[in-house]
């Protein structure tokens, strides 16, 4: 899923909405689009859909004809909202979140804190196709579930009786008295890393009984407890699924030019310096 931010840089809510409409309409022509709006005034009991949540519930879905729905609930972060969209949306637009890791369109004159794709004064200046092309060049957001969903859609899925997955995550401690790891920061040799990942995928997919392989590694800062890397294998039977998922992560770790800096409560160091 490709993610785009849209921020109000002083143009006002109505102008931002008209820009959002144009962007969603362009992206909707390319795939399914999710929109996540951040609004600090949303609070439990306010802004509720038609009938509101069932009393005492934490999440309420209201379903209508043809699968149309409304939802409300508590305890959802921006990241969790995006992760829940990733399996079945090709695009997501996040409205009003300046700290988003993905690039944004800024409507108005103010500078954004993250990467800006376009700064416009209003919808007339916006080139939605160019914005869509730009976010497609940016690293997509993947989750274990989005990759599993993708391999299940394989044309060869009818021959597949197994999916094996590996998830690598940030380990806070390797021993009880370890200084706690707060985050890892990954740097990638762009282009070369992607070519090697692609070569590993093709070689593994050429194995007898292996139908689809996906390898995805995040870059930038990944915090304690978050997922770093996924390997997903769709195969005929469990034996080749297990063997391939293990070979996939081992090859990724030894062949792909990715570099990891560890940030602990006490220190900061490149992991290859302290093997």
């Amino acid at each position: 899923m490709h993610v785009l931010g849209i921020l109000d840089g002083g143009a006002g809510e109505e102008t931002v909405e008209r820009c959002l409409d144009r962007l969603v309409s362009e992206l909707g022509g390319r795939g399914r689009v999710g929109v996540v709006r951040y609004d600090a005034t949303i609070a439990d009991g306010l802004h509720m859909p038609e009938t509101g949540p069932a009393a005492g519930s934490d999440v309420t879905y209201e379903l209508g004809a043809d699968g149309d729905w409304l939802a409300s609930g508590t305890g959802l972060s921006i990241d969790e909202a995006l992760d829940s969209l990733a399996p079945d949306c090709a695009y997501a637009v996040v409205v009003g979140v300046p700290s988003l890791a993905e690039p944004a369109v800024v409507v108005g004159d103010a500078d954004a804190e993250g990467e800006t794709i376009a700064a416009v004064s209003g919808p007339g200046e916006l080139d939605p196709a160019a914005v869509a092309d730009a976010i497609e060049r940016h690293e997509p957001r993947e989750t274990l579930e989005s990759l599993v969903r993708e391999v299940k859609g394989s044309p060869r899925a009818e021959r597949a009786g197994a999916i094996a997955t590996f998830t690598g995550r940030v380990r806070a401690k390797d021993a009880p008295d370890d200084a706690r790891t707060e985050a890892l920061e990954f740097e990638k040799y762009d282009g070369v890393a992607d070519r090697r990942l692609h070569a590993i995928r093709e070689e593994l997919e050429a194995r007898e009984g292996v139908y689809e392989v996906r390898l995805h590694h995040r870059t930038g800062v990944v915090r304690d407890g978050e997922d770093i890397v996924f390997v997903v294998v769709l195969a005929g039977h469990r034996e080749e699924a297990f063997a391939t998922v293990e070979d996939g992560i081992n090859r990724l770790k030894s062949e792909v030019p990715l570099f990891k800096k560890e940030i602990t409560v006490d220190d900061e160091f490149w992991v290859h310096d302290r093997p």
Partner: protein
């Protein structure tokens, strides 16, 4: 002619730069482009050089392919060279 070095992780920190364009004579080797890179970057030179040549944990790539420590490869204009510490993904 121009060739570009890409530097990663602690090597980029030692050089205070992630990409460095160097000027070498036409037909120059990778080793000569490395000398050019290290000539005015003593911190990087200390990290990358040992008595016998290149430090054991540093790899040199030309256009994405690992040269396996062979620095005699001839360069063409526009080649991309890279200096890498050991990979540590996952």
């Amino acid at each position: 002619m121009h060739v570009e070095w890409k530097l990663f992780a602690d090597l980029a920190e030692h050089a205070d730069d992630r990409t460095v364009a160097v000027e070498v004579a036409s037909g120059a080797t990778v080793g000569e482009a490395l000398e050019e890179l290290l000539s005015d970057r003593p911190a990087l030179a200390d990290r990358v050089r040992t008595d016998g040549g290149l430090a054991g944990d540093v790899s040199v790539l030309k256009n994405g392919a690992d040269l396996g420590g062979d620095l005699d490869d001839e360069l063409e204009s526009g080649d991309e060279l890279a200096l890498l510490p050991p990979v540590s993904g996952g």
